[in-house]
């Protein structure tokens, strides 16, 4: 087992925890954080595989991908937080309830 | 695009365009709408006349347009389509006059006449379709354009009827679709003109072909109202009278029957179909339908409902003739396509007249109505007697050929079916005639408003079509009669499918 494999295993763990979090946690902020953890797992995985060839320099491609990914993750988080705040503002809820009780926009 | 190739599109286009134009007319523009309607109908008759002359001179009209890989949109004029297109052209003209009179002063006329025209465009397309796929396209198009007509009144009852109608026809269309696609996979896009090419299919695939045949007939059988696929027809009679007239005489029911003719003769080829062994079951099914429809008709008190069940029975004559595998039976079947049309349209016109003028729907209320509406009931009588099969009215000619066809094909039971059906026809038509002419009126009629028993627009069409029914039988042996045409077509069909 090499170092990158160790980190890869950790990445997968993080990914699963994040997934579990999004699904199970009810509070929206927690869901947001879980999504970030999930993303963190994915990124960690990418960075770890950049070292898969165990030569001196890391593969730059996964690094570039992660960098892009981080920006995207941030945007998603910002959007999610904005929506969360808006939901709280309009309904007072902090969870994704009432899946059936849809009212049409007016 | 040459003149010859434009002709079929023009014929379909006249009614389509008329329909579209009418949609966008304001409700008030009554005169313009009537003019447009009659103009469209008249123009179409002219075009039909042109292609009749042209075809007789040996010209070929064909319009081909590749749609997707593997199938063409093909309109083509052959003798069979000529027969059907003439029927629909003429009857459309008459029905348009009738409909204008019938809907005087009612709501949503633009919508009605728009769909009305489109419906005819669809049935013209069915007539002119040159291959199975084009046929299917128009077949479905017909379903769609008739639905608004069936629900036109907008009452709960008519909506329910429309729903039932749709369930049946769309299901039928889907089944037909599977059959058409399957056939296309197996042999590709075969034009109607290459009838009998399926005969060269390797015997290995014959089971598949039988399955395809069953699918096609089941799909078409819904519109042709073969038992047990007929349930929509008696329900759909809530539609306004001109619609029922059109549905039962030209458009929907006929489309199914015409499709069966096409499938048996122009897709499978009758000898091949016979060798597959699918014709006898079809004949039996048609016979059951004939008897069943008549039996049910007897118990109906609502005039239009009785006529609807009668249609179920009568249309299956066409199927029966097709399935007989004999040239005489084919003649009978083809000629009945026309004869049933003109007679049934007369009956519905008359039923509509009675309903519209006096507000009567039930036969039990129609005692002595012949005294109040002699012309209408006269036309009704001619058509009804024709339906029973009394010479010299058109219906007799069909029955004559069908029965002889049955004997020719070695199926003597067909004669029994026809005779029983004639008896039953008499059993449900004659009481109406008796009530109308010989019973004492059980109520006093609303007095005539004008010189005529009802408005001229309502009176002229049934008289014309009743005249047709009489003439078609009386002059059956002369040139240019439906019978002569049917005979010619039957010979062609048999010639082309060895």
């Amino acid at each position: 087992m090499s170092q990158y494999q160790l980190y890869a295993v950790g990445a997968v763990l993080l990914f699963c925890i994040g997934l579990q979090g999004i699904i199970v946690c009810r509070h929206l902020l927690k869901k947001v954080m879980a999504a970030n953890i999930m993303g963190g797992g994915a990124f960690l995985f990418l960075i770890s595989i950049a070292r898969r060839n165990t030569i001196e320099t890391a593969d730059p491609v996964p690094h570039a991908m992660v960098l892009t990914g981080i920006v995207i993750a941030l945007s998603a988080s910002v959007l999610a937080l904005a929506l969360t705040r808006q939901i709280h503002k309009t309904t007072g809820h902090t969870t994704l309830e009432d899946p059936t009780n849809n009212r049409v926009e007016k | 695009m040459t003149w010859e190739s434009a002709m079929p599109t023009l014929i379909v286009g006249t009614s389509l365009l008329t329909g579209l134009l009418i949609f966008f007319l304001e409700e008030k523009r009554q005169r313009l709408r009537s003019t447009l309607n009659l103009l469209g109908a008249g123009l179409k008759l002219v075009f039909v006349g042109i292609i009749i002359v042209g075809t007789l001179q040996g010209r070929e009209y064909e319009f081909r347009f590749p749609l997707v890989l593997g199938f063409d949109f093909l309109l083509r004029v052959d003798m069979l389509s000529l027969l059907f297109v003439t029927l629909s052209g003429v009857l459309w003209f008459v029905t348009t006059i009738y409909a204008i009179g019938y809907l005087e002063g009612s709501e949503h006329r633009s919508r009605f006449f728009g769909f009305f025209s489109i419906c005819v465009a669809a049935s013209t397309g069915i007539a002119l379709a040159g291959n199975l796929i084009t046929f299917f396209i128009f077949y479905e198009f017909l379903t769609l354009s008739t639905y608004p007509l069936v629900v036109h009144r907008g009452t709960e009852e008519s909506l329910r009827a429309g729903r039932t109608y749709l369930w049946y026809t769309i299901t039928g269309g889907t089944v037909l679709f599977v059959g058409v696609a399957w056939l296309n996979v197996l042999v590709g896009d075969v034009d109607f003109s290459h009838a009998g090419s399926l005969a060269s299919v390797a015997p290995y695939y014959h089971t598949e072909l039988i399955a395809i045949f069953v699918l096609l007939i089941a799909g078409l059988g819904v519109k042709a109202a073969l038992v047990p696929l007929h349930g929509w027809l008696p329900v759909a009679m809530v539609a306004p009278a001109p619609v029922s007239a059109l549905l039962h005489a030209v458009a929907v029911v006929k489309a199914g029957a015409f499709g069966i003719v096409r499938v048996v003769y122009d897709v499978f080829g009758v000898s091949f179909a016979n060798s597959l062994g699918v014709l006898t079951p079809l004949a039996i099914l048609a016979s059951i339908t004939i008897i069943y429809g008549s039996l049910r008709a007897m118990t109906q008190d609502d005039l239009k409902k009785r006529l609807a069940y009668s249609t179920i029975s009568q249309v299956s004559y066409i199927t029966l003739g097709v399935a007989l595998f004999g040239i005489t039976g084919t003649i009978g079947s083809l000629v009945h396509l026309v004869h049933q049309g003109i007679m049934k349209i007369t009956l519905f016109f008359c039923a509509g007249n009675v309903a519209e003028t006096l507000g009567l729907h039930r036969i039990s209320e129609m005692n002595g109505i012949g005294r109040r509406m002699p012309v209408t009931m006269g036309a009704f009588t001619v058509a009804a007697l024709g339906m029973i099969g009394l010479p010299p009215i058109a219906g007799f000619i069909s029955k004559w050929y069908l029965a002889l066809g049955g004997l020719e094909a070695g199926k003597p039971w067909v004669v029994v079916v026809l005779l029983v059906s004639s008896l039953l026809n008499a059993a449900y038509f004659l009481p109406i005639l008796h009530a109308a002419w010989f019973k004492k009126p059980s109520q006093s009629w609303s007095p005539r408003t004008g010189k005529l028993e009802t408005s001229a627009m309502l009176l002229v069409p049934p008289v014309i079509t009743a005249g047709f029914s009489l003439a078609a039988g009386l002059f059956a042996a002369s040139n240019g009669s439906p019978l002569a045409l049917a005979r010619q077509i039957a010979e062609l069909l048999y010639y082309s499918s060895p």
Partner: protein
């Protein structure tokens, strides 16, 4: 690689996973957010270990820092509006 490095990587990963788990398990949201920021920083440390120092910097700044701040802000806003603890 020496066993020290192995041990360090192992502990680091355990910490990251543990923090991630903690973020989701802790009841108090505030604690949760704090744990999340710590998680981000520790994760960045791991990336440094994998030879991606520049990316790690970005993660520390964006993933842990900016996102953390935004979370805290949102939490605050919700507490103020909601009038108390939000769990």
């Amino acid at each position: 690689m020496s066993w020290v490095e192995w041990a360090f990587d192992g502990v680091l990963l355990l910490g990251v996973v543990g923090l991630a788990f903690g973020v989701l398990v802790v009841r108090d949201l505030y604690h949760s957010v704090i744990l999340f920021i710590a998680f981000g920083l520790l994760l960045a440390l791991g990336w440094v270990r994998l030879g991606a120092a520049d990316i790690a910097l970005a993660e520390a700044a964006i993933g842990a820092g900016l996102t953390g701040v935004l979370l805290l802000d949102a939490l605050h806003a919700m507490r103020v509006r909601g009038g108390g603890r939000v769990t």
